[in-house]
Amino acid sequence: MRYYKFQGFAFLIPILVIIGIFYAMIIWDVFAAFTHWQGLQPTWRFAGLYNFLRLFQMSRFWVNLRNNLLWLLLFIAPTFLTGFVLAYLITNLGRGEAILRQIFLFPMALSFIITGVLWAWMYDPSSGVINSVLKAFGFNTSKLGWIALPKTAIYCMIVAAFWQYLGFALVIYLGAIKGIPYEMVEAAKVDGASHWTVAFRIIFPNLGHATLICTTMLAITTVKVFDLVWVMTRGGPGVSTEILPYLMYRLAFDSRDLGMGAATSIVILLFSAAMVIPYSLWALNKWVRT
């Protein structure tokens, strides 16, 4: 084996180059955030915190940040909790698991753009599916503007993402529940434990790894919903549904203020690293043990 180590190393060269490029870009971006850069070419003139200060003075930045927090709060917990409850119910049902899993997971194969086109139509106040169905049941829909209203637009978008990602949480929990020793659940049931107790006191605490996977991946998704924002509302009405990646895009590519765009991406970097690094350490731990 030792004899071939050199060849083994050669197999790694492409991926080493690739992650080298990736990390070099991150470092480059950090430097760019601290320089004066408006227009086409980087100047590499040190600007200190200038870009960040300008960014923090924009009220638009704080709206964006608040929206990112709303996504974290209202997207993650409902998605993984519903996913867990659904996985528990389907496991108990003992039949139809394959078909149900397919139905709920199906939207995961679609892109945010397709989801966005579909849901933007569903939410359309005058001719969308949702208002039409409500009207058919006799509701007064004249005040239900959904994504046309700044107050409700972001929540509507979160619901669309929930529709798309519930299946992901479901599949992760379905897999994890199968790993729970059957005797443990059976013993509790013999003792007369209710379903609520079995689900939340016995099974859920033993699925820490699945919950970690779900929360981390859903948290990262709140950065990726850029596409959904773009296609459903373009950040509107006003800036009410913008999130930080969207602001970064606007600053860097429309206003050509790349210094400030880079500063925004550093904020996103800190936010994402806080999710990804603990998760990677956990994955590393698992890897070393096997």
Binding site: F9, L16, F22, L93, I113, I114, A120, F253, S272
Partner: protein
């Protein structure tokens, strides 16, 4: 007795939820086959009276360049990702390198870090190379962004192969690359298929790089085309839905016929192999 009621209510609840989950898709498909007048009636749960396949023709015409570009880009980028990734996955699991653990950590981090963070350097990088608005540029970037995920998934599958297999092959005079190509790849084919599907769908569904790295329609992938279709065919819901249906065909077929691999790829990719 109580248990029977529980199961009955559960079954009912889960079925209702499943129906709700399918309604958007149902409305998408039926609306894509209606005439504009029929759509205007807003009877979205009714079947189309006279299926209008010409809607699809119209939407396809608006999307066909994008579909071609997407197929060229995603197929080549996926192939390269899987090749680079599986070689790396083999090297990481098969040789007991001392630096395999820290390298694995660096790979996991870039797999899950959203690429939005480096969007600005990516555009500058391609500009420096003169590869903006070209197939080569897009393929290069998709490989950089997705090969780490391919490494992770294939590596997870390779770990399950008993090391004796490699030892025996090497003792028989089989060189590492030959072992990789002739034994490891065929033996772990399900793992490679999973990785391929996940990476392919990820690249095919990508949007942001498609708008940031291209100018004009020549090499732009299909998702930006679909977003544009929504912008130009305002309130032409039947055309928009036909466009959405056309762009979903490939991922949906993959999901229906290879869904098993999609799920096991998800599991492997997210650390539950």
């Amino acid at each position: 007795m109580k248990e029977r009621y529980f199961l009955l209510i559960t079954g009912l609840l889960v079925s209702i939820l499943a129906v709700i989950w399918m309604v958007p898709i149902y409305a998408l498909v039926t609306t894509s086959l209606k005439t504009q007048e029929e759509v205007a009636l807003q009877k979205y749960l009714d079947l189309p009276r006279n299926p209008q396949f010409s809607n699809f023709g119209k939407a396809f015409n608006a999307l066909k360049i994008g579909l071609r570009n997407s197929l060229v880009i995603s197929l080549s980028a996926t192939f390269l990702c899987i090749f680079v990734g599986s070689l790396a996955g083999y090297a990481l699991t098969g040789f007991n390198f001392r630096f395999a653990t820290p390298l694995f950590f660096l790979i996991v981090v870039v797999t899950f870090l959203p690429y939005h963070v480096i969007l600005i350097p990516i555009t500058q990088f391609l500009k420096t190379l003169g590869l903006l608005n070209s197939y080569a540029g897009l393929i290069l970037i998709y490989v950089v962004l997705n090969a780490p995920m391919a490494t992770l998934i294939t590596g997870t599958f390779f770990m399950k192969i008993p090391p004796e297999l490699e030892e025996a092959a090497i003792l028989d005079g089989c060189k590492p690359f030959r072992y990789y190509l002739r034994i490891l790849v065929p033996v772990s084919l399900p793992g490679l298929i999973s990785a391929t599907i996940l990476v392919f769908i990820q690249i095919y569904n990508e949007f942001l790089l498609g708008i940031a790295l291209t100018r004009g329609p020549d090499v732009k992938p299909v998702m930006p085309f679909l977003a544009e279709l929504k912008g130009t065919q305002i309130a032409q819901w039947h055309i928009q839905m036909a466009g959405a249906a056309i762009t979903s065909v490939i991922p949906v077929l993959v999901f229906i016929f290879l869904g098993r691999y999609f799920i096991s790829g998800l599991m492997a990719g997210y650390g539950k192999g």
